[in-house]
C-alpha cells in the first residue's frame, strides 16, 4: 500500500489480514458496547476510514523523535494547570489592601492581581503546587522546544518539503517565548514589573515610532492600569489560541508529509520504517506523557519557584537585585547588558542605545533562524526532497553554524546573569562584561572553526569507507583488500583527499 506521496509504509497491508481474521470469528458473537458505539459514530460520520488510516500511521523509531513530544506534553500540562489558576486569578492592576496570612505584607497596598496570586499561593488548596508546576513546566517547555529544534536542525530535517513546517516551528518558538514572558509578568510582583519596565523601554527605543508603539501596547505611559488585563488576554486567550492552532498545523503537516528517518539498512527515501501508531507508538507516547508529568511534578513539588511574597508587589520606585527574567528571555536581557553605550544621531533623531542590542540584533538572529532552510538551499544549491536525515558530520557547514549559534546563545544568556555570575566567580561585573563582549565575537567563531574541523574530518573518514573513530591514539587500523592483502586505513584516507 502506498500513501499519497507514493511512499511505502510497512503495515499498509494489514487491512486485508484484518478481514481474514474477522471471517474466522464465531459468527454468533455479539458486538461489544464499544464496537456498537464506534459503529454508531462511524455510521454518522464515516470516521472509521480516517481513524484506521491514522491508527496505521507509521512512526519512525528513534528516541530523538520524542523530544518534540516532550514539548507537546509540557504544553498539555501548561493548559491544565493554567485553567486551574484562571479560576482564582484576578487580572486587574487596581490597588487593594492585602489582608491575607502573610504577615510582612499585612495592610500593604497591592494590586488586585498580586493579591489574587498571594491568595492562590497561601490560601487556595494546592494553589501553590499548581503555580509551581505551571512555572517549572514553562521553563522546561521552552527548553524542550530548544532541544527539539536542535535535533531538527542538526539532522537537516527542515529541508524540502519540511521547510514549511520549520517556519511554523520557529513561529511556535516565538509564540512560546511571548507566552512565557506574559505569564511571568501576570503576578504583578516587583521582579516581573522590572521586566515589563525593560520591555517598555525597549519598545520606546525604536526610532520614530517607539513612543507611539509603546503607548499603544501598554495603554499609556508605564505603569498603566490597563497593563495586567491586556497581558492576561494575551496570555490566556490570544497566544494559547495561536499556539494550539500552530501546534495542530505542525502535527498535521508531519502526518501529511510523513516523518523523517535516520539512514539505516532498512530505510530509503521512498519508505517509512517504524512502529504503527496503534498498537505501538501510542503506548510509548502516553508513557512519555506520564513520565514528563511525573518528572515535572517531582521538581515542582520539591523546589520553590518565584517566591512572589518575598519580592512583594510592584512599586515603580523600587527594584530588587539580582533581577533576571526567566532563563529563556535571559538572552535578550544579556544582549542589553552587553550592548555598548552607543547613541548615534541620524537625521536629527537619536537612536537610543537599547535599540541595537534589544531590537535589531534579536530581529536579525530570529530572521536567520526562520529563513535557515532557504539560506541553506540557496547556498548548497540542493533543492531536492529529503526524507532521510543527515548525520551531523555529513554537513559540516550546517553543523558548525548551529554550534556557533548555540555558543552565541550561551554567551548572551550568561551575560543576562552577569551580576550573579560575577559574585559567584568573585569577578567585578565590569570585568566579566568586558570578557563576555569579547566572547560574544570570539566564541561563536572559534566554535564554528572547531566543529567544522571535527565534522569534516569525521566525514572524510567515513567517506573513506571506514569508521576509525574507535581507534585509540597511537593505534593503527588495517583492513583486508579485495586481493587478500592488508592495508592501513590512514593510507586510504590520504587517497580520498
Amino acid at each position: 500500500m502506498a500513501d499519497d506521496a507514493g511512499r511505502l509504509e510497512p503495515g499498509g497491508g494489514e487491512q486485508r489480514g484484518g478481514d481474514v481474521e474477522r471471517s474466522v470469528l464465531p459468527p454468533v458473537r455479539r458486538p461489544t458496547e464499544l464496537e456498537r458505539l464506534a459503529d454508531w459514530f462511524d455510521g454518522r460520520t464515516g470516521f472509521g476510514r480516517y481513524a484506521r488510516m491514522a491508527l496505521r500511521k507509521v512512526f519512525p523509531d528513534h528516541w530523538t523523535f520524542l523530544l518534540g513530544e516532550v514539548a507537546l506534553f509540557c504544553f498539555v500540562i501548561l493548559l491544565a494547570t493554567g485553567v486551574f489558576m484562571t479560576f482564582f486569578y484576578t487580572p486587574d492592576s487596581r490597588p487593594t489592601t492585602y489582608h491575607g496570612p502573610y504577615a510582612p505584607l499585612a495592610g500593604a497596598q497591592v494590586s488586585a492581581a498580586f493579591e489574587s496570586v498571594m491568595r492562590l499561593s497561601f490560601e487556595v488548596r494546592a494553589g501553590l503546587l499548581m503555580r509551581q508546576i505551571h512555572h517549572w513546566t514553562a521553563l522546561v517547555f521552552l527548553g524542550s522546544i530548544g532541544v527539539h529544534l536542535a535535533r531538527v536542525f542538526f539532522t537537516g530535517a527542515f529541508r524540502r518539503p519540511r521547510d514549511i513546517n520549520w517556519l511554523i516551528g520557529v513561529t511556535l518558538l516565538l509564540l512560546a517565548l511571548a507566552e512565557g514572558f506574559t505569564g511571568y509578568s501576570l503576578p504583578d510582583d516587583l521582579l516581573s514589573g522590572t521586566g515589563l519596565r525593560i520591555a517598555y523601554s525597549a519598545a520606546l527605543s525604536i526610532p520614530f515610532i517607539g513612543p507611539w508603539l509603546a503607548s499603544l501596547i501598554f495603554g499609556g505611559e508605564f505603569p498603566t492600569l490597563e497593563l495586567i488585563s491586556r497581558l492576561f488576554v494575551f496570555h490566556v486567550m490570544l497566544l494559547p489560541g495561536l499556539l494550539i492552532g500552530a501546534i495542530g498545523t505542525h502535527l498535521l503537516i508531519v502526518y501529511v508529509q510523513t516523518h523523517t528517518q535516520y539512514k539505516s539498512r532498512a530505510t530509503r527515501e521512498d519508505n517509512v520504517v517504524g512502529l504503527p501508531f496503534w498498537p505501538g507508538q501510542v503506548f510509548r507516547s502516553v508513557g512519555l506523557l506520564f513520565l514528563t508529568a511525573a518528572v515535572i511534578a517531582l521538581i515542582a513539588g520539591l523546589i520553590q519557584i518565584n517566591p512572589v511574597w518575598l519580592y512583594g508587589p510592584f512599586i515603580p520606585y523600587a527594584v530588587s537585585s539580582p533581577a533576571q527574567p526567566d532563563w529563556y528571555v535571559g538572552w535578550l536581557e544579556g544582549l542589553l547588558r552587553l550592548g555598548l553605550p552607543f547613541e548615534p544621531t541620524i537625521l536629527g533623531v537619536t537612536i537610543p542605545s537599547p535599540f541595537i542590542p534589544g531590537i535589531v540584533i534579536p530581529g536579525i538572529l530570529f530572521t536567520i533562524l526562520l529563513l535557515w532552510p532557504f539560506i541553506e538551499a540557496r547556498a548548497t544549491g540542493d533543492h531536492a526532497e529529503h526524507h532521510l536525515l543527515d548525520w551531523p558530520w555529513e554537513s559540516p557547514i550546517r553543523t558548525a553554524t548551529g554550534a556557533a549559534g548555540i555558543a552565541l546563545f550561551l554567551v548572551i544568556t550568561l551575560a543576562g546573569g552577569n551580576d550573579v555570575i560575577g559574585v559567584f566567580l568573585n569577578v567585578p561585573v565590569e570585568t566579566l562584561t568586558a570578557i563576555l563582549r569579547v566572547l560574544f565575537v570570539v566564541l561563536p567563531v572559534a566554535t564554528w572553526l572547531l566543529i567544522y574541523w571535527l565534522a569534516s574530518s569525521q566525514r572524510r573518514r567515513r567517506a573513506a569507507g571506514a569508521d576509525t573513530s574507535h581507534i585509540r591514539a597511537g593505534g593503527v587500523a588495517i583492513r583486508r583488500t579485495a586481493t587478500g592483502g592488508f592495508e592501513e586505513i590512514d593510507a586510504i584516507e590520504g587517497d580520498a583527499d
Binding site: 516532550v70 524542550s144 516587583l190 533576571q324 527574567p325 546573569g417 550573579v420 559574585v423 561585573v429 565590569e430
Partner: protein, 252 residues
C-alpha cells in the same frame, strides 16, 4: 507604754536604717556600676589605644587622622568601629585587600576597648539602640524594599553593585550590625537617617529574612531566576532527555 517609750528611739533608728538601706538598694548599685564603668572606661581607653596603635594606626594614623594607606576614622564613631570590628571587616591583613565579612579578629572586651578609643577620637555616631523584637514586620518590609532591596536583594541574598563592590548577603546580619550599617554607610552604601522605630522595624524584617517561610519547598530562588534557570535546564531538561532516551529505546 513603757514598751512604747522604750521602742521610740529604736523606731527612729529603724526608720533611718530602712531609708538608708532602701536608698542604697535603689541608687547604690547604679552608682557603684557607674563608678566601675568610669574605671573600666579609663582602662578601656588605655587598652583601646594600645590595641589601636598595634593593629590600626599603621593605616589610619596614630590619632585616626588617616594615612596614604587608609582613610581618616576621626568621625567613624562607636557605630563605625563596632560595625567594622564585629563583622571582621577590619583589621585588614594588607591595605590593598577588600573588606569581607569574616569572624572577628578581636574578642568582646578588645572590641569594646577599641570602640571606646575610636569613639573618643572625634564626634562620630554612637552605637544605635535597636530591639528587633518590638519592630513591625510590615513597616520593616516597606523600609527594606524601598531602601535596601536594590542592592541586597528582595530576599536578602546580596548582589553586585558595580565597581567591584558587592552588597553582601544579609544571612549573618544581626539587628545591631544592621542598625550600625544604616548609620555608618560602610563602603559604597549610603548612610540613612532612620529613627529608632524605623530601625526596630527594619531589624525585625531582616531577622524575618533569615528564616522566611518556604511553603514551596527548597528555596533555590533566593538569587532569582538564574538559579531556577540552571535547575530547569540541568535537572529538568537533562532528565527529560534521558526519559525520552529510555522511552524511545528499541522495542525487544
Amino acid at each position: 507604754m513603757l514598751a512604747a517609750v522604750g521602742l521610740r528611739p529604736y523606731g527612729a533608728l529603724v526608720l533611718i536604717a530602712a531609708t538608708v538601706g532602701a536608698w542604697a538598694l535603689i541608687v547604690g548599685p547604679a552608682t557603684l556600676v557607674a563608678g566601675a564603668g568610669q574605671v573600666n572606661q579609663v582602662a578601656s581607653l588605655d587598652t583601646g589605644r594600645a590595641l589601636y596603635l598595634q593593629g590600626c594606626a599603621s593605616c589610619h594614623g596614630s590619632a585616626g587622622q588617616g594615612t596614604p594607606n587608609g582613610p581618616s576614622i576621626v568621625d567613624a564613631g562607636a557605630a563605625g568601629a563596632d560595625f567594622e570590628l564585629r563583622t571582621g571587616r577590619m583589621p585588614l591583613a594588607a591595605p590593598s585587600l577588600p573588606e569581607v565579612r569574616q569572624p572577628p579578629a578581636y574578642d568582646e572586651a578588645q572590641i569594646e576597648a577599641l570602640v571606646a578609643f575610636v569613639a573618643s577620637l572625634g564626634n562620630g555616631p554612637a552605637i544605635p539602640d535597636v530591639v528587633a523584637s518590638v519592630g513591625d514586620l510590615a513597616r520593616g518590609r516597606q523600609i527594606y524594599i524601598a531602601n535596601c532591596a536594590a542592592c541586597h536583594g528582595a530576599t536578602g541574598a546580596g548582589g553586585t553593585v558595580g565597581g567591584g563592590f558587592v552588597a553582601p548577603g544579609l544571612d549573618l546580619a544581626d539587628p545591631r550590625t544592621v542598625a550600625e550599617a544604616t548609620v555608618v554607610g560602610p563602603g559604597p552604601m549610603p548612610a540613612f537617617a532612620f529613627d529608632r522605630q524605623q530601625l526596630d522595624d527594619l531589624a525585625a524584617y531582616v531577622e524575618e529574612l533569615h528564616h522566611p517561610p518556604h511553603p514551596g519547598g527548597l528555596p533555590v530562588a533566593e538569587v532569582g531566576p538564574v538559579a531556577e534557570g540552571f535547575l530547569a535546564f540541568f535537572v529538568g531538561i537533562v532528565t527529560l532527555v534521558a526519559v525520552a532516551r529510555w522511552t524511545g529505546r528499541a522495542p525487544r
